[in-house]
């Protein structure tokens, strides 16, 4: 594995593999093209710390998060609990983050996933993003660089 910062194409590939393996129920996902620009209500993130510092975030609407949990747990949408949604979205972030981490400079560690409601965080620098459209729902997958690392780079340059 190379230790280069992932490009949009690599992020597309990773997202495609994850959706194809775990969420292909005859509704194949479309990668890198957003049918709509739905703002996410909910996000799950994993953080990378060490030789590279940043965060991988998956965000989507409440409806999309319920749908993805129902597909992963193989249960009706009406039976999905908030705990199920947190677990499912967190694991999506974990799998995407683990694959992205293998392309980043090492050594680094991956945190356990965190799930939170989204608000506007302008303190981070986006490295790359892709959008997955699945069952007409959109999921944004973004790799963000930590503000601390960005500040250190500015001082160094």
């Amino acid at each position: 594995m190379s230790s280069e910062i992932p490009t949009v194409e690599q992020l597309d590939d990773i997202a495609e593999q994850v959706w194809a393996a775990f969420l292909d129920d005859g509704n194949p996902a479309v990668i890198g093209f957003a049918a709509g620009d739905e703002r996410g209500d909910l996000a799950a993130s994993v953080s990378v710390a060490g030789a590279w510092e940043g965060t991988l975030v998956v965000s989507c609407t409440d409806d999309a998060s319920r749908e993805v949990a129902s597909a992963l747990f193989a249960m009706p949408v009406s039976e999905v609990t908030p705990a199920d949604i947190g677990d499912a979205l967190g694991e999506l972030a974990n799998v995407l983050g683990g694959n992205v981490k293998s392309m980043l400079p090492s050594p680094s560690t991956l945190s356990l996933p965190e799930v939170f409601t989204t608000d506007d965080d302008s303190q981070v620098v986006e490295v790359c993003r892709t959008v997955v459209t699945w069952r007409e729902r959109t999921f944004t997958v973004a790799l963000l660089k930590s503000p601390r690392a960005v500040a250190q780079e500015e001082v160094a340059s």
């Binding site: 194809a20 393996a21 949990a69 974990n94 995407l96």
Partner: protein, 122 residues
């Protein structure tokens, strides 16, 4: 045979169990653990024939679990199922005595390929 599936994500434990079934290993008994410490206890109490473990877990990571089992004399076959797929991780897993590292996202074919030598298919 008895298989222990250790992962802090409930949905991932379910996906692993579903994939075992799809790979033709559905006849084996499955026990679950939500973290490394719980998995360590389950191995002592249930003596599984195979452990499938995540890497990043609270209360003892997968690699710490493997080291603890081996240090305690437990030689149960142990495979990682993890999104961590760097060469460093694979080297650590191999050095610790793991059979293999199955990378998330995985398919039923990957389970067949890696686990068939240790599990009889249904």
């Amino acid at each position: 045979m008895k298989i222990l599936v250790a992962d802090d994500s409930r949905v991932m434990r379910q996906i692993v169990i579903r994939t075992l079934r799809q790979a033709g290993f559905g006849d084996h008994d499955v026990v679950e653990a939500p973290d490394g410490a719980a998995a360590h206890t389950v191995v002592q109490e249930e003596n599984p024939d195979l452990v499938l473990s995540d890497w990043n877990m609270p209360n003892m990571s997968g690699i710490e679990l493997l080291h603890a089992l081996r240090a305690g004399g437990k030689q149960v076959p142990f495979a990682f199922v993890t999104s961590e797929c760097s060469q460093d991780m694979k080297n650590l897993a191999e050095a610790g005595g793991a059979l293999c590292v199955i990378t998330k996202p995985f398919t039923a074919d990957a389970f067949k390929e890696h686990l068939a030598p240790f599990l009889e298919s249904a």
